[in-house]
């Protein structure tokens, strides 16, 4: 009965490799499964293309991207790049894209600030403050974003007083139901020199910082950087301004007739959207910040204190970098969410990408497939680029911490 101990022949290497490549761990059955799967996908794809072609033919819509060079012929209430009604749909697309990016960036800026304040407030030793911050988070997170956008737009901003009775601050900022008016900076001839001075100051400060750090590591010399940095950042631009004159003058909004003229006017739609987006996302960021800070073990800050570091230095050098590691990935997600949520602008008519392109342009041209494909592609690219940037940053952090 000693036959079974005989060594078995090894399987053919080539066949095993092929099996592995074609079917993964599941082997030949995986290979067959893949073929069936691909066949089903191809069949579905074929049906979709065929149906789309015949439906478009029945509706007499020519497919393709030729419509992008047609004249749009409609006005857009906020265009940060040159645009007129005689421009093409392609230009409309860029106008919408810029508006989306602007509202997202400003929303991200405010959401981060509010989010960190609320998140730190939730951890405050003060009982009342912690409860208020908690209440804010619960309230905001449990109401739909669209609800909040409509609330700010319809209930709050639309019921603000007329421009004549607008709420004004220092006679230069005006809040009315027509939006938010503020002084518009206009560059003079000295502006270029001023800008150059600012850039030079920033570069010099960065170089100084690198130098100080190198000195610290190489020779153990501590150089106080901040006085020089402050001097550079304030002094250099100030000096240029003194020598060459003021770099910017302001044009103030003035009430003429029923509305303001001059100055910068921020659309009420923009105000409502930014408000809603930033307060909504802030509630999520607050929870992320709290989770991040609480993930740093108490012993870490105790160790910092026992080394004689001040409370601020402990926070800055020990707690925050470690918390950042936990905070960063979900924070990226929130930034992405905010960008994607800015598409709700279509509900209140802020001219973002979805509103002017997937809304007005689509209803004018009927090119649903192309337009929705482009719109989706834009958001996909934004998502991928943002997460790439953030993961690069996260990678840097984790590398600098040796983990």
């Amino acid at each position: 009965m000693a036959t079974s101990t005989e060594a078995r022949k090894p399987p053919l290497q080539l066949v095993a490799k092929l099996r592995r490549v074609l079917g993964g761990q599941a082997g030949w059955s995986g290979f067959v499964l893949q073929i069936v799967f691909v066949a089903a996908l191809v069949w579905i794809g074929y049906e979709i293309v065929e149906n789309a072609r015949s439906n478009l033919a029945a509706q007499k819509i020519a497919s393709g991207f030729g419509f992008l060079s047609n004249t749009a012929g409609f006005a857009v209430s906020q265009a940060l790049i040159p645009y007129s009604e005689s421009d093409t749909y392609l230009q409309v697309f860029f106008v919408g894209l810029v508006n989306t990016l602007v509202v997202s960036l400003i929303g991200i800026f405010f959401a981060t600030i509010i989010g960190f304040i609320v998140g730190l407030g939730r951890m405050s030793p003060n009982w009342l403050l912690a409860r208020i911050a908690g209440g804010y988070v619960e309230l905001i997170r449990n109401l739909p974003l669209l609800f909040q956008i409509l609330f700010w737009y319809l209930a709050v901003l639309a019921t603000l007083p007329q421009p004549r009775q607008s709420i004004s601050l220092l006679d230069s900022f005006f809040l009315s139901n027509r939006g938010f008016g503020l002084p518009k900076p206009i560059g003079t001839e000295a502006f270029t020199a001023f800008a150059v001075a600012v850039i030079v100051a920033i570069i010099a400060a960065l170089v100084l910082r690198v130098y100080a750090r190198q000195q610290l590591f190489a020779k153990g010399r501590v150089i106080a950087v901040w006085p020089a940095t402050l001097g550079l950042l304030v002094g250099l631009p100030l000096l240029t301004a003194l020598v060459l004159g003021t770099p910017v003058t302001f044009e103030y909004p003035v009430l003429r007739g029923f509305n303001f003229s001059g100055g910068l006017r921020v659309l009420p739609e923009f105000v409502a959207l930014t408000l809603a987006l930033s307060t909504y996302t802030a509630a999520f960021i607050a929870e992320i910040v709290r989770a991040g800070v609480q993930s740093v073990h108490k012993g870490q800050s105790e160790a910092g204190a026992s080394l004689g570091l001040s409370r601020g230095a402990t926070l800055r050098l020990i707690v925050v970098p470690q918390a950042m590691r936990v905070i960063l990935p979900p924070l990226t997600n929130q930034y992405l969410n905010l960008t994607k949520n800015s598409s709700l602008a279509v509900a209140i008519g802020y001219p973002d990408l979805v509103s002017v392109f997937a809304g007005t342009t689509m209803s004018q041209t009927g090119q649903a497939i192309e337009i929705i494909a482009i719109t989706m592609a834009v958001y996909l690219v934004i998502s991928l680029v943002t997460s790439a940037i953030m993961s690069a940053y996260g990678w840097r952090i984790s590398r600098s911490m040796g983990a």
């Binding site: 993964g24 074929y46 449990n142 989706m376």
Partner: protein, 506 residues
């Protein structure tokens, strides 16, 4: 001999008593006023509260108007003081907020559906009650079907046999068509080998289609038999019952262990028969209420519950696909998930509303509500997939290895060992995505479906109720409804999480 001992000569001074940390006074002293910064923070917080809570309470309760017929009741000049919430507005619009434009005489159907849903859902949520699997089956499988026929109305002309016959013959026709095209392309091709290959594949596909057609034949014959006998629905139901029961009986170990499965199958079919008889589905059923008339809370609940129920299988399938070892399936799942997660829901809804009809055959129209539902299911499915994948990753490999050592197949391992544990791990994450879904359903109001929020907006257009505070009242009411739903779900999920983690707390 040095004197190293130390004896205190005088008494140590008394230390101050520790600050009391219990009771109200102690609480205030330690948590609110223990340092100058904290005192400042407390004052700021109190001011914040004073400027937010006080006006809200004043608006909602103290200054509110409770009775009235139209806008004049809520005007400050008629009331005599500053007017807060105009509750008569909510009373007048209440039925719209709940039912939309669902016809008045048919509203009992909506109420009945709500009631049925609540009756099935509540016992599911209370852990102590028995018969969870029957309950879950009823809620997740039977209730949607019943709810559909209750809410939408209409009947059925055939049962399983007709559906199978229709499905098979449609698929067969399409597949044969593709095969023919490939064959003709192969005949026209200039490159000999390529043309031959195409022809070969085309012939194969045509043969496969013909085979399907053959399979469809007996179903067709049975259907005709039923129509000839005059009671097609009942005939087909009986035939389907017999076929399915036999299959179940045989596949579950026939004479030895199959009885239990047979009994439950027959029981299910009796339930189906009862529903058909009760709703008279074989005679056209209830009058049809078009989904364009649906609205308010009804649509919100329909969209979110359908979204939750349909996105779960999508999510599980995608999560398994993403962890699959089969390269193409993994690749497809990753691409699919990343695509849906990378785009905003509103573009998904636009996609479903404007693009989907173009992709379907011209004679095949899909209801607007269903289109939105498809988009939402795909969108939520991609998000659920990532949550579930997290749970799958948390299951140690040893579990699957132990299962395969016991001789369980991959499917059984997944269904009995891995998936239940994974889902238990990710309950909080799933609940989060359900809350997100419930909130996101408000977006359907952008594609012309009147959910709760859409109905609210529509109600603002009524000039009979335009008062200075109508807007705020409407938002307050809807906000409270959304808040109660979302907050309730999140608290319930905390409760479940605690219960499931009992074994882990020590």
């Amino acid at each position: 001999m040095s004197n190293t001992s130390f004896v205190a000569r005088e008494l140590v001074a008394e230390r101050a008593a520790p600050v009391r940390s219990t009771g109200f006074v102690g609480f205030v002293q330690t948590r609110l006023l223990n340092s100058p910064t904290n005192i400042l923070l407390t004052v700021v917080s109190l001011l914040l509260l004073w400027f937010t809570i006080a006006p809200t309470v004043k608006f909602l309760l103290i200054d509110a108007v409770w009775q009235g017929q139209d806008r004049t009741a809520c005007l400050p000049e008629n009331v005599g003081h500053a007017v807060g919430a105009c509750w008569p507005f909510v009373q007048a619009k209440f039925t719209q907020f709940i039912y939309g434009f669902y016809p008045e005489p048919e509203r009992w159907r909506v109420n009945l559906t709500f009631l049925l849903g609540a009756l099935l859902l509540l016992p599911l949520l209370i852990p102590r009650l028995p018969a969870k699997s029957v309950n879950a089956g009823l809620f997740f499988l039977a209730f949607p079907v019943v709810a559909f026929f209750l809410l939408y109305g209409g009947g059925i002309n055939g049962f399983g046999i007709s559906w199978a016959a229709d499905f098979l013959s449609t698929v067969a026709v399409h597949i044969t068509e593709i095969g023919r095209r490939l064959r003709s392309m192969g005949l026209l091709s200039d490159i000999a080998v390529f043309g031959d290959l195409l022809r070969l594949i085309g012939n194969g596909i045509v043969a496969f289609g013909d085979g399907l057609q053959l399979v469809a034949l007996p179903f067709d014959w049975l259907r005709n038999e039923g129509v000839n006998r005059g009671e097609p629905v009942w005939f087909e139901l009986a035939a389907t019952t017999i076929t399915v029961s036999l299959l179940v009986f045989l596949s579950n170990g026939h004479v030895r262990n199959g009885w239990r499965a047979l009994a439950s199958t027959i029981f299910i079919f009796i339930g189906v028969a009862a529903v058909i008889a009760l709703l008279r589905l074989d005679r056209g059923g209830l009058p049809i209420v078009d989904t364009r008339l649906w609205g308010g809370l009804l649509v919100t609940l329909v969209v979110s519950i359908t979204g939750i129920v349909t996105s779960m299988p999508v999510g599980i399938a995608l999560a398994l696909g993403r962890r699959s070892t089969i390269p193409l399936i993994r690749l497809f799942s990753i691409a699919f998930i990343e695509f849906w997660r990378g785009v905003p829901l509103i573009t998904v809804l636009f996609f479903a509303t404007y693009m989907l009809p173009l992709f379907l055959p011209g004679n095949f129209t899909v209801d607007g509500l269903v289109r939105a539902l498809i988009g939402i299911a795909l969108f939520a499915g991609a998000y659920n997939a990532e949550v579930i994948r997290g749970g799958l990753q948390a299951i140690p490999r040893g579990q699957a290895e132990a299962a395969s050592a016991l001789g369980l197949s991959w499917w059984k391992t997944t269904r009995l060992v891995v998936m239940p544990q994974a889902l238990r791990h990710v309950i909080p994450g799933l609940v989060n995505s359900f809350i997100a879904l419930l909130k996101d359903t408000s977006l359907v109001s952008i594609v012309a479906l009147f959910d709760l929020l859409g109905q609210l907006r529509a109600s603002f257009a009524d000039p009979n109720w335009s008062t200075p505070t109508t807007l705020f009242t409407g938002f307050a009411f809807t906000g409270i409804m959304y808040f109660v739903m979302c907050f309730g779900i999140s608290r319930y999920s905390l409760f479940v999480e605690h219960r499931l983690n009992v074994h882990r707390r020590s």
